[in-house]
């Protein structure tokens, strides 16, 4: 509609429309911005059982007054062709001390396979306090046909782990990366 006849003085339809379109575009961008925001938020709060996905530098500063049980759970997603276990089901750890654990995986196929391990920690209030110094989950893991391999994890449980946590569960889920990237819905 023509701006002149019926508009309130000083109000220009075109510029308001442009501003609103801009707002819509900005909100579309905001939707995408939520992705990194969510990541930051998760790293800070441990929302969604997130733990660090890149190596963390952490000094040893043991607190011998506490002992925490760390349990390992291993899962293979969508029946991916691996056997994947923790060498020990659990261990008692002192917060602030460095520990090692190993996991073993075996490719059950005759083909080369690439896996990605996805870590998750429960309870949520502990996930920000479980620091992985070295982890096979930081990168893809390549397996030759039938290859079996031990994979190391090096971690520290943060001494400021909340009082009300006495057990931490660390889960790794093994994903077949080929399946993920070649996922075409069929």
């Amino acid at each position: 509609m023509s701006d002149s006849t019926n508009n309130r003085p000083g109000n220009d339809n075109r510029s308001l429309t442009r501003k609103l379109l801009l707002l819509a575009a900005a909100m579309f961008g905001f939707g995408y911005l939520l992705v990194p925001l969510y990541d930051v938020f998760c790293e800070i709060t441990g929302f969604g059982g997130r733990t660090n996905s890149v190596a963390e530098i952490s000094r040893e500063d043991p607190d011998f007054s506490r002992s925490i049980r760390v349990e390992f759970v291993t899962t293979v997603n969508e029946y991916a062709p691996w056997e994947f276990v923790a060498d020990r089901d659990s261990m008692e750890v002192t917060p602030g001390k460095m520990y090692y654990a190993t996991f073993t995986a075996r490719n059950l196929t005759e083909d080369k396979k690439v896996a990605q391990a996805v870590p998750s920690v429960a309870p949520i209030s502990a996930s920000g306090h479980f620091k992985k110094i070295e982890c096979f989950c930081f990168t893809n893991q390549e397996f030759q046909a039938n290859e079996e391999r031990a994979m190391p994890l090096q971690f520290i449980v943060d001494p400021d782990l909340p009082e009300f946590v006495d057990t931490i569960t660390l889960q790794y889920t093994f994903y077949d990366t080929v399946r993920v990237s070649a996922n075409d819905g069929s």
Partner: protein
Amino acid sequence: MIRKSLLSLLGTLWAGAASADWALNMPRGVTELSAETYDLHMMVFWWCVWIGVVVFGVMIISLVKHRKSRGVEPATFSHSTTAEVVWTIIPVVILLVMAVPAAETMIRLEDSRNPDISVVVTGYQWKWHYRYQDEDIAFYSSLDRPSVEARPKNSGIDPFDVENFLLEVDRPLVVPKGAKVRLLITSNDVVHSWWVPDLAIKKDAVPGIINETWFRAEQTGTFRGQCTELCGKDHGYMPIVVEVVEPDAYIAWVETHQQTGERVATSQ
């Protein structure tokens, strides 16, 4: 006229209450927290009822008395700051009264310290898998045969002839009475959700994520639930059965299952 629609509501309620074994309400459940949850539910429910009685009461009086057919002249008032402040403040106070016990229960729900047993629960399209962390026991738990046979379209089997139709599994989760059972819940494929109303536990099983929750059953018995997150075509066919037994019976169960090697192959 509104009274009539209320009558229709009451009719439904009454019909429900009249036939004895129809469950109308949330179960009180068999854990301390399920009872607390039930109490919270009832508290909020009664608050709603009383607020409803007042609001609908005033409205009904108005509908009866302030009609044109009775020759009333309309008043002309169009606001009253006092009234508006009052009916903003009162709800805030009521909400605070509700929020406090709710927050307390929530804090207790999150306290998963000192578990006696840990079970890893994995959702699959469309069954559950249980692995007892400290025993050498792991198995799938799927819809039981009689239900499987009765469920297809035009199966010719009347669901009323099947005991616990769609709520029975081949192998239930067995736990001892009085033990604090910690569940570590995850998924193999899509999102599922593990729910047993009598335990007042519902937690999503998300692929790649481990979720934690817990319960301590105070009573023996068989408690049934279902998957509550849409997970594909057989979402309605992956029930959950938890059998709570006396501690001795549990120890015996663990032994037989370890001996008979009923460690059903898992993906691990």
